[in-house]
């Protein structure tokens, strides 16, 4: 079975927003629900809880599809943020101080009001390539940052590295990712 392309998944979410397209929803569900479940299990959720939250995440995709903007984030990035926030809310029972990217009171004004020309969808492709090309020791820390809910001090201890080394690897990795976006630091 071939995986649906990024463009197809992005288009499917737009179709949900435009016409409440259930066939499109099934494409998104089949692709993302098992990945969201896996992400939650990796972060320590029991299988039944991960299952419930993955269903909840996909229901959120259906309900909030109108907020999805492929020029701002790909389907996987948008759904990652949904799963992350659901997890903080349901498992850590904390409020997530968050931003509405379209909030007109953001300063300086929200990116596109400022006439920004960065096409985020394209930029994410380049970022993916850059991520895959990161030196192993940098990629490892980025991956642990997302898939092990630990402060960087704990990641440092686990890898037997000084905290300063972990921080400098993060900075090096982030510099490469930013370069891939074509944004000058």
């Amino acid at each position: 079975m071939t995986l649906p392309s990024v463009d197809r998944l992005n288009a499917a979410i737009c179709a949900i927003a435009a016409t409440r397209d259930r066939a499109a929803f099934q494409i998104v569900f089949d692709h993302f629900a098992p990945r969201v479940k896996s992400y939650l299990v990796r972060l320590g959720a029991s299988a039944p809880l991960a299952e419930d939250l993955a269903q909840e995440a996909l229901l959120t995709v259906w309900r909030k599809a109108a907020l999805f903007d492929p020029a701002r984030a790909s389907a996987s990035t948008w759904i990652f943020t949904i799963a992350r926030n659901l997890r903080i809310d349901a498992i850590r029972r904390e409020r997530r101080p968050d931003l509405d990217p379209n909030d007109p009171s953001l300063q300086p004004e929200a990116e596109r009001d400022a006439g920004d020309s960065l096409d985020w969808g394209k930029a994410e492709d380049r970022l993916r390539t850059a991520l895959a090309a990161l030196p192993k020791e940098q990629a490892e820390i980025i991956s642990l940052s997302f898939l092990a809910e630990k402060p960087h001090s704990a990641i440092a201890a686990e890898l037997g590295l000084p905290l300063g080394t972990v921080k400098s690897r993060i900075r090096l990795a982030m510099a490469r990712l930013r370069l891939a976006l074509g944004d000058s630091p």
Binding site: P34, W78, E94, R95, R96, P97, S105, M174, L177
Partner: protein, 213 residues
């Protein structure tokens, strides 16, 4: 507003990944509302998260999962609320804690010229607002852990430099400093500490204990 001091990238990354607790996330999100540059760093980190989600080995959903979600698609859902423009010196993420009006806060006095307002404590990490009249400041201290301070109004200075609206000062255990509000409007900042400060001298120690610094 020109911002000279930004949170470290490891802090932005832990916000994007969801590892940062609520107190730290409140400070980061409030800075993001004021700083486009850091919004881009967070957006690239989130894209890295999206990429990891794409590549993760899937775990099968239960056989009835899809049907069960389908049966809920027509449930009434909360309307999507879009943010309206609001002319407020309170960054949007902080409004959930204190409302829109920074002048309406019920400050709790500490010493003359200095007051605070606790916001949230998570895992021993405290977020609070600090209000310092010009010339007032926190007695000389070092830290057991890290301290992040986001300036909302006015400015303050210490041995490491001057910090104005939008700036985030990061201090580590090795720094001893005595931040003092500059002349002008009162300096209001959002301070996040992950361990009590270590004061020099008896009186500051006592005051620090009483107010949980």
């Amino acid at each position: 507003m020109s911002i000279a001091h930004h949170p470290g990238e490891e802090l932005l990354l832990s916000y994007a990944s969801g590892a940062a607790n609520e107190a730290v996330a409140l400070l980061v999100a409030s800075h993001l509302a004021l700083c486009r540059q850091c919004r881009l760093v967070v957006a690239s980190s989130e894209a890295a998260g999206g990429s990891l989600l794409e590549d993760i080995p899937p775990v099968a959903m239960s056989a009835q999962a899809y049907q069960s979600v389908l049966s809920r698609l027509d449930e009434p859902a909360a309307a999507i609320v879009r943010s309206a423009h609001l002319d407020s010196s309170v960054p949007a993420p902080l409004r959930a804690y204190i409302g829109n009006d920074i002048d309406g806060i019920a400050w709790r006095p500490i010493v003359s010229g200095l007051a605070h307002y606790p916001l949230v404590t998570r895992d021993g990490v405290r977020a609070r607002l600090i209000r310092a009249e010009p010339g007032a400041g926190v007695a000389p201290h070092t830290h057991r852990g890290e301290e992040w301070t986001l300036v909302l109004t006015g400015s303050f200075s210490d041995v490491t430099g001057r910090y104005g609206p939008g700036d985030v000062q990061t201090t580590t255990p090795d720094i001893e400093h005595q931040p003092t509000a500059d002349p002008g409007p009162a300096c209001i900042n959002l301070a996040v500490t992950d361990a009590p400060l270590v004061f020099r001298g008896f009186l500051p120690k006592l005051v620090g204990k009483m107010f949980g610094f």
